[in-house]
Symmetry: C2
DNA sequence: GTCTATATCCAGATAGAC
DNA sequence: GTCTATCTGGATATAGAC
């Protein structure tokens, strides 16, 4: 009996993961409003009504995805923060890593697109707005700290750390979104171009 | 009689301009699907049904705005191309100009947002897709040419001109969109940060 | 040109059988 | 858990009076 309950629990979780994966794909490509519950259900291969066995509403799916996306992004930044490297190497590693991930991981570019869409729309669920408000600043803040530390060591270009962090994040984000819409036709620029913005000589 | 016809024609054009201005505002903030015809009509101060005296459908308004937005962007790039300045000064002028315009013109940031949304969604009208396909590459191409010319003169950093153009355009675009969502709280970075990417020493 | 009223459609969400 | 059928609301677009 306990075994069965565990199995059921696992099946349920698998289903939820399927729905999430399909919904991320659809939302990233079409946005919240153009994506229909039917699209998600068909993508997963289940009846339209069955979605409501797992989620209360379309908005609920969306909010959960937004939360996951922001958390994933922030976790990556905190990981970078904890990495035992000098600041300027953190920066160049982060740039290389992100460009590589943009190039190779569709899931990552979709996550970027989801966040970008949500950030740029006022027509998203109230809960999603709150999450964004709460969580979106962390990358800028952490980047700014790393940059300031590097400037103290004399390895990173002079300039307002916050402004440099802003350029860092918006540039890479812009590239991720660009890439997402031309997957086959384009490759990312040489990391050196971006690294030059931040590192001395 | 001819006078009256002219007056009527002008009134009609004014109405259309009102609708366009309101629609740009709404679409930029909420996207195509979350914007309701009623919202636009209310914004202009007319009855919902009256919109259809001026446009056949919501999609038609959207497609027209997309066209205008892309044309405006491309016209600015072609203007830059024709400016009688050496390449490296074109680049630094363009950066300064764009950062200033982002900071001061809400219409410009809305135009950027509209294009960004449309570019990043597969759920837009077929006609809008065609326009984007046709027109969106021009800035990258012209920038790349200017950069290549500057490299020949030895005033612009080495590197693949196309990649540099990509960084140029995605960075500024990313900043415009960032700014749009935090209008009061943020200012643009020092142009020098971006200029340093492109100019030698 | 402008409005009100309405036809029509579509999608989110629910009910209930299996 | 899963499906089919359906209720319901809301939005586009049209019709027709003023």
């Amino acid at each position: 009996m306990a075994r069965n309950q565990q199995q059921n629990e696992k099946m349920r979780e698998d289903r939820i993961k399927q729905i999430q994966a399909e919904a991320l794909h659809q939302f990233a490509n079409k946005g919240l409003f153009a994506t229909k519950i039917r699209d998600i259900a068909e993508g997963v291969g289940m009846a339209q009504g069955l979605i409501y066995h797992y989620y209360k509403s379309k908005e609920d799916i969306y909010v959960e995805l937004i939360k996951n996306a922001l958390d994933k992004m922030n976790a990556a930044v905190l990981m970078l923060k904890e990495t035992p490297l000098p600041p300027h190497e953190k920066i160049s590693m982060a740039i290389k890593q992100m460009l590589y991930t943009i190039e190779t991981s569709e899931d990552f570019t979709q996550t970027c697109r989801l966040i970008a869409q949500a950030t740029n729309s006022t027509a998203i669920p109230e809960d999603a707005k709150k999450l964004i408000e709460e969580k979106r600043d962390l990358p800028y803040q952490e980047l700014a700290k790393i940059i300031a530390a590097g400037q103290k060591e004399g390895t990173i270009t002079a300039g307002d750390p916050k402004e440099l962090a802003l350029v860092f994040w918006t540039s890479l984000n812009g590239l991720a979104i660009y890439k997402a819409t031309r997957r086959e036709h384009t490759s990312m620029p040489d990391p050196g171009i971006l690294i030059n913005i931040f590192l001395k000589e």
